[in-house]
């Protein structure tokens, strides 16, 4: 300790900062979640127990949010990673206009979420007076138009997943193209001389070599999708409960600041449940990765 005194002194500002703005709120949330009917203004509560968890778990809005979140996670994480991998593979094959395509694919990343949401809304919306582009296309091919923004649940969920995949793709493509570029081409030459089929080359050589990056994308993809909220607001507005498109984070926000808000205890309980879910999934991911991810 004495020897490391200087080191600890240097660390002190950062540690203090972390303690005040990270650890303390975390502990606080944990405490709130067990205090029944906690009130900010009076700093008072009725009792201590599991009532908040019980309430949240029986709240139909929370159940809906839980369901939505899981659907989004299960659909968008594998799909976006898979499609990004396909696009990156194709990108790494072309030579001449690669930079142009890379820029195009990266554009959504630097575009404002709300602006993208607005564009999607215009594309997918259907009102009695006007059709969005998507509905015009559907009707052109003889289908029946549907309002993706204010219509049936499956339509809203479809556009939600579509939007989420579209918005998370650029980052994944960026990471995967650089991962693919870092694979030494001599391995491909060796595989070629040994008459390896393209699929086998991909499955046995490329994929293991870029597996740490794929794993990183899956982990961050899961966490990001579980924390989704702003994307939903961008498409369906702030009253997500009414639209039936709320997510867990949205639920937490509503419980704190929404129209029916002012319940920090419920919000804390919901937030902790989200934490537990993300923690579990990440642990499972890590366990799976030990067998499948190769670090050189």
């Amino acid at each position: 300790m004495k020897k490391n005194l200087a080191a600890w002194l240097c660390l002190l500002p950062a540690l203090a900062f972390l303690l005040v703005f990270m650890v303390y709120p975390l502990v606080d949330v944990f405490i709130y979640s067990f205090e029944e009917g906690y009130n900010f203004a009076s700093q008072s509560y009725f009792g201590v127990g599991l009532y908040n968890y019980n309430y949240v778990l029986h709240d139909p809005y929370f159940i809906q949010a839980l369901k939505n979140t899981f659907i989004i996670v299960i659909i968008t994480v594998p799909l976006s990673t898979g499609i990004a991998l396909l696009i990156s593979l194709e990108l790494s094959k072309i030579r001449h206009i690669r930079n142009f395509f890379q820029t195009v694919y990266f554009l959504p990343y630097v575009t404002n979420t709300l602006a993208v949401g607005l564009v999607f809304m215009i594309l997918f919306k259907k009102t009695p007076y006007s059709n969005g582009l998507v509905n015009i296309l559907i009707q052109f091919f003889g289908g029946k138009g549907v309002d993706f923004i204010d219509g049936p649940y499956w339509a809203k969920m479809f556009v939600m997943c579509f939007y989420t995949i579209w918005i998370v793709m650029p980052f994944k493509i960026l990471i995967l193209t650089s991962a693919l570029a870092s694979v030494n081409p001599m391995y491909y030459k060796a595989a070629k001389v040994d008459n390896t089929s393209p699929f086998r080359t991909f499955y046995k050589i490329t994929l293991p070599m870029i597996s740490p990056m794929v794993f990183y994308l899956v982990i961050t993809g899961f966490i990001g999708a579980f924390k989704a909220y702003s994307d939903e607001v961008a498409l369906f507005g702030t009253d997500l409960n009414a639209a039936g498109m709320n997510t867990i984070v949205g639920y937490v926000y509503d419980m704190l600041y929404g129209n029916s808000g002012g319940y920090p205890s419920f919000a804390s309980a919901a937030a902790l449940m989200l934490f537990a879910i993300v923690f579990t999934i990440t642990t499972i991911n890590l366990m799976v990765s030990r067998k499948t991810v190769f670090y050189n």
């Binding site: 030494n184 001599m186 391995y187 030459k189 060796a190 595989a191 070629k192 001389v193 040994d194 008459n195 390896t196 089929s197 086998r200 046995k204 050589i205 293991p208 070599m209 190769f294 050189n296």
Partner: protein, 366 residues
């Protein structure tokens, strides 16, 4: 399987796009690599020897000319259909697979009637591992092995499907000096044992000379000379080959032939019967000097280096090309410079004459 080159040429566009000239990596190769031999492609870096190797294995396509394996024209065949085994300079072992999986990899690619059962594969893997003596390491990953062991695994992987031709790209360059000696003997042993036509690329003349049945010396994409190592060493066809082969390097003096005698400066160092008068380079192998107080060639003595087996005499001469003359004499002979001058006689067989302009060999009757 013999490999035949017919007017084989490979040109690359210049990296610098402003320069229109193409880079000629391999220029008009016409020769045959005999069946079942170990052949060293030798030349300084950038001479096109690796390109030549890539042309044989098919990773590069020639600009002009054809390549034949025996009578089969393989010029337009993809590498996977040529039946060659290639060992890369950095081995290119798949780092995420064990040694066993690495060696088995080419076998798992076999399809159709060539498809092997698991037992057959394991048998072949064991046989290949035994050949390169790495049976005990089959369950290791490449990064858990030394460079020499990795090299063996790479050779085993190239040999496991019994290729018609084995190609090795700078096989020893990543090994330390001691391992290099051992591994080159290994390569020779494996080649003899399998009888597979083997071509290896190297810039180290000693490496090529020591194990090759035949060496092919290249410079700037042009074939300089080919033949058995001793033959090429003893009878170099031009100054480049003479200077490239042999350590220490051959000693080159500016000289002239006058009246059927070879002169270095004013000193007539040897006879040159039947040769016309002209300016020449006089190249003397280090072992071609005899210390002789009455010898015709006088040099300024600088130093002697005692090696035990023999002694190097370091000297200088005004007409010497390069820094210092290095003569190797048996250790029992004594060097006593008189007034800082040491006199040499020359062994005619160790002296090669080259035209001063074309640098081509001038042969004299002896």
């Amino acid at each position: 399987m013999k490999i035949v080159f017919e007017h084989l040429t490979k040109r690359f566009p210049n990296r610098n796009k402003r320069i229109k000239d193409e880079v000629v990596a391999v220029s008009d190769f016409n020769f045959t690599i005999p069946d079942g031999k170990l052949v060293g492609l030798l030349g300084p870096s950038g001479c096109g020897k690796s390109t030549a190797l890539n042309l044989i294995c098919g990773l590069e396509k020639p600009t002009e000319g054809r390549i034949y394996f025996e009578d089969l024209d393989v010029t337009d065949l993809e590498p996977e259909n040529r039946g060659v085994g290639l060992v890369f300079q950095n081995y290119a072992l798949y780092p995420h697979l064990t040694v066993r999986q690495n060696i088995r990899f080419p076998l798992e690619n076999l399809r159709g009637d060539k498809k092997l059962s698991k037992e057959e594969m394991e048998e072949k893997v064991q046989a290949a591992a035994k050949l390169v003596q790495i049976e005990a390491l089959l369950d290791r990953k490449p990064n858990e092995m030394s460079g020499g062991q990795q090299q063996r695994v790479a050779i085993a992987r190239a040999l496991v499907k019994v290729p018609k031709v084995l190609l090795l790209d700078e096989p020893l360059s990543n090994l330390d000096a001691r391992l290099r000696l051992k591994t080159r003997e290994e390569i020779k042993r494996i080649q003899v044992q399998t009888g597979i036509t083997t071509v290896f690329v190297t810039h180290d003349q000693e490496e090529a000379m020591s194990i090759s049945d035949m060496i092919v010396v290249m410079k700037d994409g042009v074939l300089q000379q080919m033949g058995r190592p001793q033959e090429v060493y003893d009878e170099p066809e031009n100054l480049f080959v003479a200077m490239f082969l042999g350590t220490p390097q051959i000693n080159v003096f500016k000289g002239a032939i006058k009246g059927e005698k070879v002169y270095i400066g004013d000193e007539a160092v040897m006879d040159a019967k039947g040769a016309a008068d002209r300016e020449v380079f006089v190249a003397v192998r280090p072992e071609g000097f005899i210390v002789d107080p009455n010898g015709p060639l006088s040099c300024t003595f600088i130093n002697r280096e005692v090696m035990g087996r023999d002694t190097s005499v370091i000297a200088s001469h005004a007409l010497f090309e390069g820094e210092n003359i290095r003569a190797i004499i048996p250790s029992e002979e004594d060097v006593t410079p008189v007034n800082g001058i040491v006199r040499f006689a020359l062994k005619p067989f160790k002296v090669k004459l080259f035209d001063s302009i074309s640098e081509e060999r001038i042969r004299i009757k002896s």
